[in-house]
């Protein structure tokens, strides 16, 4: 298990060395989007219309932060469940997104797409919103302002902690559960 400090956006080669279970501290910038934002981009793609954002080379973080106040750019900003974005993720990767980040398992179609495109998946710890929000130093809405916390935003982060959950070789962090399992899985 390795510890990495990554600056984003990064070339895909920088992600290729990461292995599931590695810890990362992310600095630089990435994009935030969740359910409704994905739906709108997906619908635009179906209609053959252009997107309001370019996801090429970006990490997409599934989050709807609580509002910032005082000196805080955002309030709490922990990950939401990634699998709700599964049906949209292959398209995002096709359009060049280099990584996604959220919490929880990804479906087989997302894993296939990640392997095909050399993309990786990170997980952040759910429910530690105050801690993760403190690592986001700036947020600018770049599309769909009407969605409020669900708007697509660019965020600037300093040492945002996460784990590599799915790497370019197809290793999955959730396989670690098997090491600690002491009961037989029921059929």
């Amino acid at each position: 298990m390795n510890h990495w400090k990554l600056t984003l956006p990064a070339k895909k080669q920088a992600f290729a060395q990461l292995r599931a279970g590695d810890r990362v501290l992310l600095s630089g910038t990435f994009i935030t989007a969740r359910d409704e934002a994905h739906q709108r981009l997906y619908d635009l793609a179906l209609e053959g219309k252009p997107w309001p954002i370019d996801v090429a080379g970006e990490l997409i973080y599934y989050v709807g932060p609580s509002p910032g106040f005082g000196a805080f750019a955002v309030g709490a900003a922990g990950p939401t469940t990634s699998s709700r974005m599964d049906s949209f993720t292959p398209l995002m990767l096709e359009r060049g997104a280099a990584a996604t980040m959220g919490k929880g398992y990804r479906g087989p179609q997302v894993k296939d797409a990640m392997l095909r495109h050399g993309a990786v998946y990170f997980v952040a710890i759910g429910g530690v919103g105050a801690l993760l929000g403190s690592r986001i130093v700036r947020r600018e809405v770049i599309a769909y302002e009407d969605l409020g916390p669900e708007a697509i935003a660019r965020v600037w982060v300093e040492e945002f902690p996460a784990f590599v959950a799915f790497d370019v070789l197809g290793n999955d962090i959730y396989a670690q559960q098997d090491e600690w399992r002491q009961t037989k899985s029921k059929g």
């Binding site: 919103g129 959730y174 670690q176 098997d178 029921k186």
Partner: protein
Amino acid sequence: MKTISVEEIENTVADLCKQANLRLPPDVVARIRQAGKEELSPVGREVLDQILENAQRASDTGVSLCQDGGVTIVFAEIGQDVHIVGGSFEEAVNAGIQKGYQSAHLRGSILDSPFHGKNTGFNAPGVIHTKLTMGDDLRIRVMPKGGGADNMSQLKMLVPAAGVEGIRTFVLDVVEQAGPNACPPLIVGVGIGGTFDSVAQLAKHALLRAVGEPNPDAEIAKFEAELLTDINKLGIGPMGLGGTTTAIAVHVETHPLHMASLPVAVNLQCHSARVQTAVL
């Protein structure tokens, strides 16, 4: 007879909403700290450390524990000798939720309708459960219930022949299927008995109990302890990253039931198990 104004109710609910979202209750903190000493996986321990650090940070800065302030569940026990004056109880509670969430800079997570709903912007309306009690106290408990854990909860109408083993299998299945999505370590609320509608409420009500406090019935308490041991053998671990702490407590509540039925509901609570109580 005690007279309580709707303004007092509104202000109390507002304060409870704010406190609940900023403070992890001491019983939860203590149990997570204990779990940190017992957890065998280093990654699991790191997750538990982050949870404790987060609780400290939320309390120090006024930034909420989690961006998901959830559906605001309000349990009210209203004494028969309480007279509420100046308006509607329900409107006062919802106004309190709005005031509390707005003043504490919390996210609005509530859509006004399941069909192309719009975010109400201030997290109201909540879900309100009322119960009449003896006396002249009004006891209000506020539980911000995150979407991730509620989404992974399940209800099943078992046949009586399934018995205790059927219940055990179902509870383990629910926790297993939830995996990381419900943000473990969990508090697992289990309702058994009653009817289709009441059993779900029983399971939710079980989450209000002080963490790890056993059911007063010795047989049920034993079942809770066994379930906790079984759940922690699943290997899911803190946030599903593997480990020996998948749940910090199992709370079972029961109700008399029809001889042809065995309703069971499992309501999962994430590690951000937020509850605050006030008595007027």
